[in-house]
Symmetry: D2
Subunit: 135 residues, 4 copies
């Protein structure tokens, strides 16, 4: 999978002169959407089918500060897969130095808000996640 | 109508050390929602009735910078009313000094995206706007 | 310590109709700043003394969705304290139901970016954290 | 000058299902920074020289809604130039249809916050703006 790139914007910095830490959660979403698209499961298509994929949890470890106009590179990997949820990991670098590592956990819900068994309802999606999983 | 208060948050500042200018557009929305609620037309109730009120235009003049943890006071007034749109003005102060003046223009749309004649479909809302209008 | 309140803003929602998950990281910051102020250590005063307190890590578990105009109540507690870092926990409720639990870890840095021994340089701050620590 | 591209992110939408209007002010900043870089005056270099360029005013007219994952194209033009300020215009399109037109006005300040005479202190920058001005 290709690396996702995000150039830090001026409006993403704070008065400490660095990228505000909340924005990394947004960069994770950008990278995740890029990952799903490259994996053949664009998120807007999933939504059109009536599936939503809420974030169940995130963790984020800030290793080095970044600032405008740093170019962030983000790689996404599948950490865990179960029939009802999956966990992704994110490695963010600037100039090949790690600035942030993170994870996000997701489930799939029907539009009515009911949990979906991923292998039953989206076997292709489940297979993709399982194959992409870090060994 | 009562003044709306917003304390500038740390995450609303940028590396210039001041409140990022884009956030004032958000403060306008907060003050507008407060204004509508006080006027008896809470925005979430309008939405539940199937009406949406997109922003057609904004203007914003930045007079003085603000920063964390300034306390902004925002007053909202009705500038113009027509059957299909209305224009609000905003005066933002810190310690009684004007820091920003702004306007926003809105129309009402049905859920299908069709423009609504405000006096026909929401005569009470139209009357409120007309009476609140600055003379 | 008093509970911090945050009313979910319209601009904090996303097209799923719920509060975007990244915003909870910002609500944590708001609640943390409120907590520090109530504990006698307002963050802007710390910064004026030349101290910065970057976020080293966050975790966030989303239990229930929220949306505009829910009123969030956030309580902050001290989970861990060491000479070089401290960890806070956050419990967020709407109508007394838990919607999100979270943690954030912080260190103190001098303006030059050097880690500060909290008990040596800010004994009063260290004492406050230690006493506030959940037993 | 090349067109600036911004893909609408999921976190930039709101519960109306569209891009929140405040974000266009941020897209303008992205496009402006791109414009200045292409014109040979990258904004981070200006800041390193001790110049800041606060936004004095913005106007924004929303013509059509956009949403995730629309690809926005933004062109920037110089509308007005005077020794103490300059005004830029922005045309934003999706699939060659105009979705938003906007303007922003800026001055240059020294780090002490004093207005700078652009032609006196930055003759090259002034010349660039004057030549780029729409006739």
């Amino acid at each position: 999978m290709s690396t996702y790139k995000h150039t830090i914007q001026y409006y993403e910095t704070d008065k400490m002169g660095i990228t505000h830490h909340s924005n990394y959660i947004r960069f994770m979403e950008e990278a995740r959407i890029h990952f799903l698209k490259e994996a053949g499961w664009p998120y807007d298509k999933l939504e059109e089918e009536g599936v939503i994929s809420p974030v169940v949890g995130v963790t984020c470890d800030y290793k080095k500060t970044t600032t405008f106009p740093d170019e962030l590179e983000i790689t996404v990997a599948v950490l865990e897969v179960s029939p009802v949820k999956f966990k992704l990991s994110y490695t963010m670098t600037v100039d090949e130095k790690i600035v942030c590592t993170a994870t996000s956990t997701h489930c799939l819900l029907s539009k009515e808000g009911r949990p979906i068994s991923i292998p039953k309802q989206y076997p292709g999606f489940y297979e993709m996640l399982t194959q992409a999983k870090v060994q």
